[in-house]
Symmetry: C2
Subunit: 334 residues, 2 copies
């Protein structure tokens, strides 16, 4: 329970100077004797002195920690986003506190409270599928802790946010399938609480309408993102008298589970039924029959951008205006 790092006080004592002098030497303050500065730096090396950022916090009011709250680290999409966040924040001396919400609203709320308690200087959030409100984000703002949302954003929230142009992505995916001569296209969509769900639907409908294909309500399923639900809804699609020829999945994980159901029921992937999905996860390249296309959303870049905005909000608390950044997605054919 006790860090025993040497303190400035000890260095000062061994050098027979005041703590102030040591402090200034460490900050390369101009008005300090060259000789003294050198001695201090030597001793710092020798004693392995590390400044106590916790104490600095009390003065400067910042911990150089930021918090990240997201559904699952195990989804590559999010771990890539973390990498983007980490790379831009560490450059500025910030570390990253990671908490998983597991798509549970209560956990998400607790995570944010906990992060505030731990004194983070800012928070980046990708909300849980359950989350329907942004009041828990307000709490952070109230404490002067800026919040930036990414990917799973709540657009009516007052926070800056970074997300990809899902409507366009979904539109292009459907257009691609239609160009392949497919017309009966189903949509395994996400939970209705998510903005991203609505946008996929918009792109889907838009493309169908443009190509004058009637929208079949039975082809549109809303999932809660659990495996069981994916299996159930896929079976519902496969039980229809007018079988869909293709499925646009909410993301690759959903596609994978759905594809498995199809295979088990004797459908040949990308022959009897085609798949297109979001995320473009790298491991799909190992599949014999991956989705024929996937919408790359550049999670690393999204994390990067979100971190940049947050860093800016932290550094210039005054000038922080709400930003909405759209990362262009890209349809990758396989």
């Amino acid at each position: 329970m006790a860090h025993n790092t040497p303190t400035m006080k000890e260095i000062a004592k061994r050098l027979g100077v005041s703590v102030t002098t040591v402090s200034r030497a460490l900050q390369n303050h101009p008005r300090i004797g060259l000789r003294t500065r050198e001695q201090v730096h030597e001793l710092v090396q020798e004693m392995g002195y590390v400044p106590n950022s916790t104490a600095i916090y009390l003065k400067k009011r910042c911990t150089f920690n930021i918090g990240v709250v997201l559904p699952f680290l195990t989804e590559q999409f999010f771990s890539l986003a973390i990498s983007g966040i980490e790379d831009t924040t560490t450059k500025q001396g910030y570390s990253v506190l990671v908490v998983q919400s597991r798509n549970n609203f209560e956990r998400e709320k607790a995570a944010i409270t906990s992060l505030i308690k731990h004194g983070v200087d800012g928070i980046i959030v990708s909300v849980a599928s359950e989350t329907q409100t942004y009041l828990h984000l307000d709490e952070a703002q109230k404490h002067g802790v800026p919040v930036v949302l990414f990917d799973r954003v709540i657009k009516r929230a007052p926070n800056s946010c970074v997300y990809s142009d899902i409507v366009v992505g979904a539109y292009e995916a459907i257009a691609f399938l239609i160009s392949r001569g497919l017309r009966r296209i189903a949509l395994l969509n996400g939970p209705n609480t998510l903005q991203a769900t609505e946008e996929r639907l918009r792109g889907y409908v838009k493309a169908l309408q443009e190509y004058e294909i009637p929208v079949n309500i039975h082809y549109i399923k809303s999932l809660n993102l659990t495996k069981e639900d994916t299996i159930r809804k896929t079976n519902e699609l496969l039980n229809l008298s007018e079988l869909p020829q293709a499925i646009l999945a909410f993301h690759d994980y959903i596609a994978l589970d759905s594809m498995q159901v199809c295979k088990e029921r004797g459908f040949r992937i990308n022959k009897d039924i085609f798949f297109v999905s979001f995320s473009n996860l790298s491991f799909c390249s190992y599949l014999d029959n991956p989705p024929i296309a996937s919408i790359e959303q550049f999670p690393y870049e999204m994390g990067e951008k979100a971190a940049q905005i947050l860093m800016n909000d932290i550094t210039n608390p005054g000038s922080s205006i709400r930003q909405e950044v759209v990362i262009k997605s890209k349809l990758i054919q396989r």
Copy 2:
């Protein structure tokens, strides 16, 4: 740059009591007026007071943060381990600072220094493939920050560590292949710096010897865990006049890349050449031809155990004796 959380001082002022009283009320100190306590709690709610753990740190000498350093969050193995760590530490009010080393020693070293600077109470490390020394871990110990290693451990290090019984795992994997009638078995092993590499080799050799199969030195390759190297070494194996019938891979990611090379060169997976690997990653179940067996290493449990040991080291700094915990692995046939 400024958290504007209400402080105890303000609560005290509004209630016309001293800060101490508020402090005690908050801790449910026995010697405090019931009435006062209630008033304090009410005001805390109303003002949204959150204790400043940074300030508490100065007294208690603990930040309730722990650091985790590991190669890649994008490897499911590690993100599962994080979940195990997170679940056991959050129970005790600790948060997790995550830093990725990307298998680079310098990054790992910098990560540890940074974590110390951020005042973490303890650190959990899975070392980079490049790492050959544990001197950078000593630095933490010197600062009174306990360190626990997991999975990628350095066993001659003075730290507690948690790892799986790789020798047994490799042995069972090879025995399994032999029981399938395969005798020419190659080993795509990890970098020689890792303990885990040597252990895989031990298990491999032991099994072959027990079944009186000569060890062919050309069947044993040491990889640096990059994709390029995996491709190169797999090609070397496939160029041998006596082709291996099976390959034991360092882990599933290696197996996947290696399998792809085999496929490209016209070998049929699990017909012409069989694969077995470590990790038992969930997404392998989506493959048409996954490795016929994989050694499950229970990363979640490993993280959990490492966190438990660390929590104990932090809470009882005196009684911390070096522990070495072995998590039993399990051969999963597919």
